[in-house]
């Protein structure tokens, strides 16, 4: 079977998690794509940890406001009914369990629910930003990642080797191969995305994965 990296499928599947009224924080990078695929009849509230509820899409060219950015410093808009607050309030909201879903990028994620995404010692050290608070505080932590590194190694591990962003906080991993729940130190494959098969995923991933009885083969569109 040939693997073709597909970030859009990851974003599309994650976008199906949300119900109207839920509060969602999307990390910079791949997770941001999720916002593009939320169904039209679902009204979520995007929280931005730099101090906003009701994060809206990018403004039209020339309409940028230098005082209104997302957590990646890109110009954004605020939705009608949104509001602004300071960083202590923002993280009060996050740590306090008022964010339903956080979607975060991945360097490594392991079957214990550990996530590493902020530091490769001696090489790349961006810092954790708000990711540690988000993984600790959000009701559901979704790790969003291409299944494989450029080297071909799986980003889903038995045990993370990089410094952790979150210890045992990840609930769900969505890759371009499938959807995995994390429970009891195992990954549980609950959805396998076409054209991949559970057997192929298990073969290519060096981690303990249980294929759920009701695991479905899903066509992402």
């Amino acid at each position: 079977m040939e693997y073709i990296a597909n970030k859009e499928n990851i974003a599309k599947r994650i976008a199906k998690f949300f119900k109207s009224g839920e509060v969602v924080n999307l990390g910079i990078g791949l997770p941001t794509l999720v916002g593009n695929y939320v169904p039209k009849d679902v009204t979520i509230v995007l929280q931005s940890e730099n101090g906003m509820m009701g994060l809206g899409p990018a403004p039209a060219k020339g309409e940028e406001n230098r005082d209104l950015t997302n957590a990646g410093s890109a110009p954004v808009t605020v939705q009608i009914g949104g509001c602004f607050f300071d960083s202590a309030t923002s993280f009060g909201i996050i740590r306090g369990g008022h964010v339903d879903y956080t979607v975060l990028g991945v360097l490594e994620v392991d079957q214990e629910g550990n996530l590493a995404n902020y530091k490769v010692p001696g090489k790349m050290v961006p810092g954790m930003g708000g990711a540690m608070d988000l993984t600790t505080g959000a009701r559901v932590v979704i790790a969003a990642t291409l299944h494989f590194e450029p080297s071909g190694a799986s980003r889903m591990k038995r045990k993370c080797t990089l410094p952790l962003t979150a210890a045992r906080e990840v609930n769900v991993v969505v890759t371009d191969l499938g959807l995995f729940e994390v429970m009891g130190d195992r990954f549980y494959l609950t959805e396998c995305f076409e054209p991949y098969t559970p057997e192929w995923i298990l073969e290519k991933t060096d981690a303990d994965i249980v294929v759920k009885n009701d695991c479905r083969i899903v066509k992402i569109d």
Partner: protein, 228 residues
């Protein structure tokens, strides 16, 4: 209400002394006091400890710099306490070369540490960072069998912050996501200098809409540089 002195950015920079700890408001340069930052860059004061959400941006290839990145470039900090340095390659270079000490703190913890200092708390228990490198050297306290880290308050000698509007008494109003750490830092430094785009007479800000009460602000500076 008494009026607070309006000073120049150069005068503001002059109040920051070598060796001071310095809080700078802003989030990736959004809502940073750019006028004072530029004056401090010109002044060249060294051996400062920076407390800021991040070190803004510095692309070593293009040479593009924003916000406190100018001060990092001038090697004005001996130590940097921040949650994120990912867009500033010069900060990462100085850290890896051992030229500058960089302490990375989870963003929510950093915000709460500043608030705790301003609020007279001796510390707080946060679940953030448990089981990670952030835990190292910290007291772990169990509450109802759940582990929390004891995090301590973070004060500074000087805070430079940025508001959309100030009145002459020092009441401040922020705009949109340019608020971020500014109101917290206003409470947690011995000397607070607020740069404002607009400085109005006392009474022109609705008391229900004040974000930072006047008593926290020592000096006002009229913002002249708005771009990052």
């Amino acid at each position: 209400m008494i009026e607070k002195p309006i000073i120049s950015a150069a005068e503001a920079a002059g109040k920051i002394r070598e060796g001071d700890s310095l809080m700078v408001g802003g989030f990736l340069a959004c809502g940073s006091p750019h006028t004072i930052i530029q004056a401090l860059k010109e002044k060249g004061t060294k051996n400062l400890t920076l407390i800021c959400n991040d070190t803004a941006a510095h692309d070593l290839k293009s040479g593009k710099i924003t916000g406190v990145g100018y001060l990092v470039q001038g090697k004005q900090f001996k130590k940097i306490i921040a949650s994120h340095i990912g867009l500033n390659q010069e900060t990462q270079r100085q850290m890896n070369a051992g030229e500058t000490v960089v302490e990375l703190v989870p963003q929510g913890t950093l915000a709460e540490q500043v608030r705790a200092a301003g609020s007279g708390l001796g510390g707080f228990l946060t679940p953030t960072g448990v089981g990670t490198e952030v835990e190292k050297g910290k007291q772990v306290i169990l509450v109802n069998d759940r582990p929390f880290l004891l995090e301590l308050p973070l004060k500074a000698d000087v805070a430079i912050i940025k508001a959309k509007k100030a009145d002459r008494a020092g009441n401040l109003v922020y705009n949109a996501t340019a608020r971020n750490f500014n109101p917290l830092m206003a409470t947690a430094a011995n000397l607070v200098i607020a740069e404002a785009e607009e400085i109005v007479e006392i009474g022109e800000i609705d008391p229900n809409e004040v974000h930072t009460p006047s008593i926290f602000v020592d000096f006002l500076v009229k913002a002249e540089r708005l771009e990052w």
